[in-house]
Symmetry: C2
């Protein structure tokens, strides 16, 4: 019997329809992204990118030259522009503002053929440090309300450049999905005076069937109302609303993140995936009703008319099965 | 300068980022869906599908035999099951219920190689009649709150079967996206005592720059905060909350729908696309603050980490440009 499950934070329902999974639904073909003759993200090609805004350079090398291990540059084709005023405006029923924001590319490694799957936790930890440094810098710009950090790996997950990178977009508005999480968190907090994510963590550690991994500081679960097969959320076990609050925990985060990626590799053969860091808005960084976390979604199915029309999802893999499979590999 | 635009009904923001469109963002490759040796939706193969629940048979032929022009059957791999009780249940923080619902396939033509692009309006009108008949029948089942009708055309839009078909899912809950539209519509109605969609129609007919086509009964617009390049909404010009209310208008709907598809074909070479019919919930079919419409989204770009994380969209094609392009072809 298929099952309808509701995400307790956002009221988003998901159809867990295992029988449907008996069809060959998983996309297996993966065409690798466009090969470029010269990779603009490789060391030596720094002049091909806008000037770097942050880099980890342990060898004391100069900006915009080789020697970096992680390098952050503005996106050459930004979705939003850094210069200008918002100029909010109403046009009849409609609202608009200028597309002000920052759009940056975090080049995760100087090695063109290395991906997050290949990296030791120490390297992942450096990437988290780069995220944090950019967040702290951009938070000084009072036009911005939110910073969304995300990664597209594999063409089917939206990657257009092969060289390993993630992206950051600073926005003058709080994203809809985060607002919904905050609204759900606040509703729960008003009744219980507890963080709903903390309560989820407690219930998951009790029930155990959706805990894929746990270390000193973090919990990795396949969420109860997973939208996608093998969806994983990584949450700090202690309440923390902002990703940038406890950088001393990044090594622990990197350890569990790396473990999940290795499990994906074994179980799903380097699937295309997206990850998104959900953190508190810039103007309310420390709140008792929001809990930052990373959502990782392998792109094994394709959202289609039903998902676009309803905002609900059909997921052929129950998270309990995904968990038991990922725990074994 | 890119622009941020807010959908007036749902508060969903979209980044209209034209400069970004200068990159080769449009997906052009399209692998055709899996070829099956025997198509289960072709005439003569009726025994391969579950028993039909509706068909248009002008030749007086028997059910589950050839002779039909449109045929509706339960999905052989349903996401939801028709038999059983909801058995709503709380498990700690979580809510679940049995996956009760209907999942049907509307076979739009007996001709394996004919697609909606090829059909005269009269044939499209018959498909709308099939939608309506199934909606009216399923509305008698008091377990259901909503019927979502949608189509996936082309592999990239989620189609897995080549033979032209659309789908219908009856749900025991109102979809999140529809609830948000209703909430937005109600907020507007409480202040203005007018339907927000009627107001949008009035503003669009005044401004003209996003009206792709208009006939006696319907308006086709590229919405102000289009999520996708060449997104089109078709709305009845006179207030109507339910798709099933005025079947006498289906010929007019079919005419404008067919025109839009022919424009897509000319402009975008039979793009993969989804369409979704947004109509009022079954328990509130006639409401002054909701206005049914069809949303058509060509799948020329790929939602990725930013869209999954934020619930916002980046659209490289301003709807005014899409409109002027589609009007010309």
């Amino acid at each position: 019997m298929p099952e309808l499950r509701k995400d307790p934070v956002t009221d988003r329902w998901v159809i867990i329809s295992e029988e449907r999974g008996k069809r060959p639904v998983f996309l297996t073909e993966e065409i690798s992204p466009q090969k470029t003759l010269i990779c603009p993200l490789c060391p030596g090609n720094e002049p091909m990118t806008p000037h770097e805004v942050f880099a980890i350079r342990r060898d004391g090398s100069q900006p915009n030259t080789p020697g970096w291990t992680v390098r952050v540059v503005p996106n050459k084709f930004p979705a939003l522009r850094i210069e200008g005023d918002l100029e909010k405006e109403g046009i009849g029923l409609y609202d608009r503002m200028n597309g002000i924001g920052a759009h940056e590319v975090i080049i995760e490694t100087p090695n063109h053929n290395e991906h997050l799957f290949d990296m030791v936790p120490e390297k992942l930890s450096d990437i988290f440090i780069a995220f944090k440094e950019r967040c702290l810098d951009l938070a000084n710009d009072k036009r911005f309300r939110y910073i969304m950090i995300f990664k597209n790996y594999g063409q089917r997950a939206g990657a257009t450049i092969d060289h390993s990178h993630s992206q950051l977009i600073a926005l003058p508005i709080v994203p809809k999905n985060v607002s919904e999480e905050i609204r759900g968190g606040l509703t729960h907090y008003k009744i219980k005076e507890r963080c709903i994510f903390c309560d989820i963590i407690a219930q998951e550690r009790e029930e155990k069937v959706r805990v894929v991994s746990e270390n000193e500081k973090f919990l990795a679960i396949s969420p109860y109302a997973s939208r996608f097969p093998f969806e994983i959320w990584i949450l700090p076990k202690k309440h923390e609303s902002s990703f940038t609050d406890q950088p001393e925990n990044y090594p622990s985060l990197a350890e569990i993140f790396s473990l999940i990626l290795r499990k994906y590799e074994r179980a799903l053969n380097r699937p295309p995936y997206n990850f998104m860091i959900h953190t508190s808005p810039l103007n309310t960084p420390h709140i008792p009703y929001y809990h930052w976390h990373i959502e990782i979604i392998p792109m094994l199915t394709r959202p289609a008319g039903f998902e676009w029309g309803t905002g609900f999802y059909i997921n052929p893999t129950p998270p309990e099965e995904a968990t038991s499979f990922l725990k074994e590999v």
